[in-house]
């Protein structure tokens, strides 16, 4: 994804394809490590807020969410209906893709989208 795609408030596809693409995941350590009782978090209190970002939920179904920036009109109607924070918008509130590492393919955004720029494909890449 290059700089010129971010001009004119046009939607562009900067979807997260892997954990490396996700800014919040950088610098976070996977907490699922065996610890001695002397070192474990007191009372099971978790201090690394939002570390669930490291837990992949995007592989729960065989479907894949696709985003076509050409058809997107930046209406933002997909953003408030995503249960998993997977609709990515930039600092101007314009559409920039989906978080495929966490998208559970529920379809709320597909249903809400007026231009069908969000759609599913199956494992054979056929549109569902």
């Amino acid at each position: 994804m290059t700089e010129d795609k971010k001009t004119n408030n046009k939607p562009y596809d900067a979807s997260y394809q892997s954990m490396d693409d996700i800014p919040q995941a950088k610098g976070k350590k996977d907490p699922f490590v065996t610890k001695s009782w002397r070192e474990i978090d007191r009372a099971g209190i978790i201090k690394d807020g939002g570390n669930s970002i490291l837990y992949k939920t995007g592989n729960w179904t065989n479907k894949k969410l696709n985003f076509d920036p050409e058809k997107c009109i930046n209406c933002n109607l997909c953003w408030p209906v995503c249960p998993d924070n997977c609709i990515l918008v930039d600092k101007d509130g314009n559409m920039k893709g989906v978080d495929l590492e966490h998208c559970k393919d529920c379809g709320f955004c597909v249903e809400a989208c007026p231009t069908k720029c969000l759609f599913f494909t199956d494992e054979k890449n056929k549109e569902i």
Binding site: K35, I40, R42, A43, G44, I45, I46, G49
Partner: protein
Amino acid sequence: MSKKLFLNGADAVAEAMRQINPDVVAAYPITPTTHIVEKFSKFVADGKVKTEFVTVESEHSAMSACIGASASGGRVMTATASQGLIYMAEALFCASGFRLPIVLINGNRALSSPLSIHTDHSDSMAIRDSGFVQVYAKNAQEAYDLTIQAIRIAEHKDVRTPVMVCIEGFQNTHTLDSVVVEDDEVVKKFLGEFEPVDSLLDIDNPVTYGAAVKPDFFFEIKRQQLEGINCAYDVMKSVGEEFEKITGRDYSKVYEEYGLEDADVAIVLMSSSYSTALGVTENMRESGKKIGLLRPKLFRPFPDTEIVEKLKGLKAVAVLDRSMPQGAKYGPLCTEIVTALFNVGKRPKVYNFIHGIGSRETYPSHYDEVFEFLLSSLDEVKEDKLRFLNLNE
């Protein structure tokens, strides 16, 4: 300057609470600790404390609000008894699991049914494994002193466990006694400032309390919690030593004893029964009987090492429990004593007596009887069975 006041147990505890000046108190009234809540409420109304007093609608909500408040980084206290203590039972385990330094004053009162507002230890014994540190006061003075020390014990970095101070309902909460009350500044200095740890109000470092824990981690978290409550044993002694320096009252030991240095037999009991038993022990020792008395102040964690040291050289011991065993072989205190003594090579015979249930009086004559029973057991071992004092057989 410390003052000598004529106070009942409830007022003595309320006075301690006023001096502690907690940030939040969430409490619900219940006989016999209603007066603590009432007295404290008057302090709030008169602006004598900075406390935010939450008049919750039940004891379950009282402990829940205490949990929320304590997790938000401040000093939190509450008071309850009997039914209220059991109503908040699930929240007690939650408070100790979260390692929150809440101090709870429990007015020992019998558990229903049938309803009884009178004294025994069934309430605090029913939740003895809730993870709370449990201390038992024998009179208003001790209730005052232990309430103040409880704050230091609970907040100690090695402990970080809630503490329950047990004072006997009616017998201590409602009877007037002479209590030495320390100066406000002395108490304030002794307690120090509260240092919040992992506070919910620390918005820059958001914490998650109470996530669901899988088998991969739960055992370790609980083992760490066990370490915390066990540390209260040594911490109570060190806090007690500090307390003695500022008040002159000895709290360096987690028990009280009389005559054990040369005794053959002894009675072990807790709380106010000690005072009556002491009178009998002093009299009988004057006529040469080799008897002694032991009163654990700390019940959880159970100070087994010291109790064993004190009792192992004796020939016979009677443990007086103040709650019904409900199907166990012995009452809770006797069970602890017997367990502590089991692996010791040479150990005394232990007999269990249940007394004082629902404020059934235990007169000096009953302690007399128990000592005579113990002394005669030295010639002929008595049957190992549960016995009851002042029960209409």
